[in-house]
Amino acid sequence: MAVGNAKTLTKFIVVTLGMFGFGFALVPFYYKICEVTGINSGAEQSLVKNTQVDSSRWVTLEFDANTNEALPWRFKPVQRSMKVHPGQLVQVEYEVTNTSDQPIVGLAVPSYGPARAAAFFNKIECFCFTPQTLAAGESRRMPVLFVLDPTMDRDVHTVTLSYTFFDAAAKGQASALPKRLPRG
């Protein structure tokens, strides 16, 4: 009897120690499961899904670029037009080159067609927010990041975004600049 009990005791002690080890083995096991299934990873959680996209309609965007005649810059959009859903986050680029032999500070002023679309054109990032300084002969690509508000009137099917660059330092053109810079 006593020998039998000692054998059983040994077995149970082995199981006990094994389960103590199992508790610690759960640590790498936990991280492996998280890694394989992608649960709990930072990347997964930071991908915010936009639930505000109105995928029921398309809006055609046209991009236009001009420079004031006194400004020796070449300025054009990288893409002429594109189709987007309202609510969708969109990034477009413009290309600008200083063709003169001296640095110039320029300021871009946007306008919209139709004008009533302006209120729904929400820019998150734009080169028009700040004056841009270009060295002599410098060429640069500049982004505009925006969302078309999904509450925009449904009968607006095409929106034209037009930028005009002015020489920010030129005195003669001061009157051409609006008093307050439009942020939109």
């Binding site: 009897m1 039998g4 009990n5 059983t8 005791l9 149970f12 002690i13 199981v15 006990t16 120690l17 094994g18 389960m19 103590f20 080890g21 199992f22 508790g23 610690f24 759960l26 640590v27 936990y30 991280y31 299934t37 649960i39 709990n40």
Partner: protein, 525 residues
């Protein structure tokens, strides 16, 4: 060999008396009694904390305590009730009854048995002493979640060590009980002839041996995070506090079955006795108990639906949790079927057993409600959860302990208890307990959070009702204390069989059971 036999003969004569008798005893009956007295003292300690909690919650605003002390009370109430009262009480039953029910002379490892018990008062003293330390006792909840449990003061270290010691004690106890049951049954007593109490304890012992070491590992990680610069759970060091919840509940859910399976066993002994019919569906009871135990390892994350887990995981844990209702339903059905057309009498043990079946079922149903993931996310950490687990632990585990004490006390003491006092104890307990916990369902559904010392005005009436119930329930336990003391001192002489319908080896012994029993094994046909 002859020396050993001689020493054994002298055992009862040369045994030390006084405190040394109890410190050095290796007798399963002595140790069983000590477990039960320890559990009773802990029940009254943690019960006093519960009454303080309820007194504070009698009205909105802060009256008796401050928020930190309130949190200490809820934390210690939980830890002491689970590890100090319910688990040792069941160990006490196992020590007293398992050898008597399987016809063994004693436990397999009597000295380890002594150690397993005497570790408990040490751990309890450490827990209680932490109230006196700077910063007071632990206030981070009995589930010991980081980051709170990594940040607290010295009493947190003390509590972690106390949990280690209590865990060691219950592992030693379980190994002892399992070995006794596996190796020391009387000739002819096959596994499928064992009384159901023995079966449930065998399965409980396996659960304890499998999960207690995992808890020990989890709290060891807390300890090294606190003191030795590891970062298992410390997010600042790249650890993950949610991982603690996974490891803790891998232990914690089997633990709730550790707290209820022996209760199933006790009730399965009592109901056939007072229905005067054999237990309905014995084999299905054994298989249901084993299924509950196995399934309990697959449901842990239902305690933490709110941490944010993938829908697939929520569905898995939701359905596996609901699956446990099936074997539990089998058990409830079998108890009811045992009573069906039986010659029922309603002595106090039977009353507690019937109350167990009814009220545990209510707790089971609210558990099913909580198993539904979207509902659980709404009810997480509200009083609905408090109501749920008190229905399964008070009217479940604790009532079965009372039932078992009333049932076997005449065999242990040789005296019948006072049936009048017993009925007073039962009715005051069952009424007080329902006034105490039933309103908590409504409080929880209305959104009252748990573990908060203050509440919004609209919760006042139900909280006052619960507090009245708490004081009825709490003070009626003094009747139980008086009853037990009176029964030990004297009372009507109990017959050997005690109850007319009682079946089993323990009832073939004289009452009170002699100090040494079954020195020659009985033969079971």
């Amino acid at each position: 060999m002859s020396d050993a036999a001689h020493a054994h003969d002298d055992h009862s004569h040369g045994h030390p008396s006084g405190i040394m008798r109890w410190l050095t005893t290796t007798n399963h009956k002595d140790i069983g009694s000590m477990y039960l007295w320890f559990a009773l003292i802990m029940l009254f300690s943690a019960g006093t904390m519960a009454l303080l909690i309820r007194a504070e919650l009698f009205q909105p605003g802060m009256q008796l305590t401050n928020p930190d002390f309130f949190n200490q009370l809820t934390t210690m109430h939980g830890l002491i009730m689970i590890f100090g009262a319910i688990m040792p009480a069941f160990s006490g039953f196992a020590n007293w009854q398992v050898p008597l029910m399987i016809g063994a002379p004693d436990m397999a490892f009597p000295r380890m048995n002594n150690w397993a018990f005497w570790l408990l008062p040490v751990a309890a003293l450490m827990l209680m002493a932490s109230f006196l330390l700077p910063g007071g006792a632990v206030a981070g909840g009995w589930t010991m979640y980081p980051p709170l449990f990594i940040q607290g003061g010295i009493s947190y270290d003390l509590t972690i060590l106390a949990v280690h010691i209590m865990g060691l004690s219950s592992i030693m106890g379980s190994i002892n009980i399992a070995t006794t049951i596996l190796n020391m049954r009387a000739p002819g007593l096959t596994l499928m002839k064992m009384p159901l109490f023995v079966w449930t304890w065998l399965i409980t012992a396996y659960l304890l041996i499998a999960t207690m070491p995992v808890l020990a590992g989890a709290v060891t990680m807390l300890l090294t995070d606190r003191n030795f610069g590891t970062h298992f759970f410390n997010a600042a060091g790249g650890g993950d506090p949610v991982m603690f919840q996974h490891i803790f509940w891998f232990f914690g859910h089997p633990e709730v079955y550790i707290l209820i399976l022996p209760a199933f066993g006790i009730v399965s002994q009592i109901i056939p006795t007072f229905a005067r019919k054999p237990l309905f569906g014995y084999a299905s009871m054994v298989y249901a108990t084993a299924s509950i135990a196995i399934l309990s390892f697959t449901v842990w994350a239902h305690h933490m639906f709110a941490v944010g887990m993938p829908v697939a995981a929520q569905l898995f844990f939701m359905f596996s949790t609901m699956l446990i209702a099936v074997p539990t339903g089998v058990k409830i059905f079998n108890w009811v079927a045992t009573m069906w057309k039986g010659s029922l009498t309603f002595e106090t043990p039977m009353l507690f057993a019937i109350a167990f079946v009814c009220l545990f079922t209510i707790g089971g149903f609210s558990g099913l409600v909580l198993a539904i993931a979207p509902v659980d996310i709404q009810l997480q950490d509200t009083y609905y959860v408090v109501a749920h687990f008190h229905y399964v632990l008070v009217s479940g585990a604790l009532f079965s302990i009372f039932a078992g004490i009333y049932y076997w006390l005449p065999k242990w003491t040789g005296h019948m208890y006072s049936e009048t006092l017993g009925k007073w104890h039962f009715w005051l307990s069952v009424i007080g307990m329902n006034i105490l916990f039933f309103p908590m369902h409504f409080l929880g559904l209305a959104g009252m959070p748990r573990r908060i010392p203050d509440y919004a005005l609209q919760f006042t009436e139900f909280n006052q009702l619960a507090t009245v119930g708490a004081f009825i329930f709490g003070f009626s336990q003094l009747i139980f204390l008086v009853l037990v003391l009176k029964t030990i001192k004297g009372g009507d002489k109990a017959t050997d069989r005690v109850w007319e319908g009682a079946e089993g080896l323990e009832w073939t012994l004289p009452s009170p059971a002699p100090y040494h029993t079954f020195e020659t094994a009985p033969v079971v046909r």
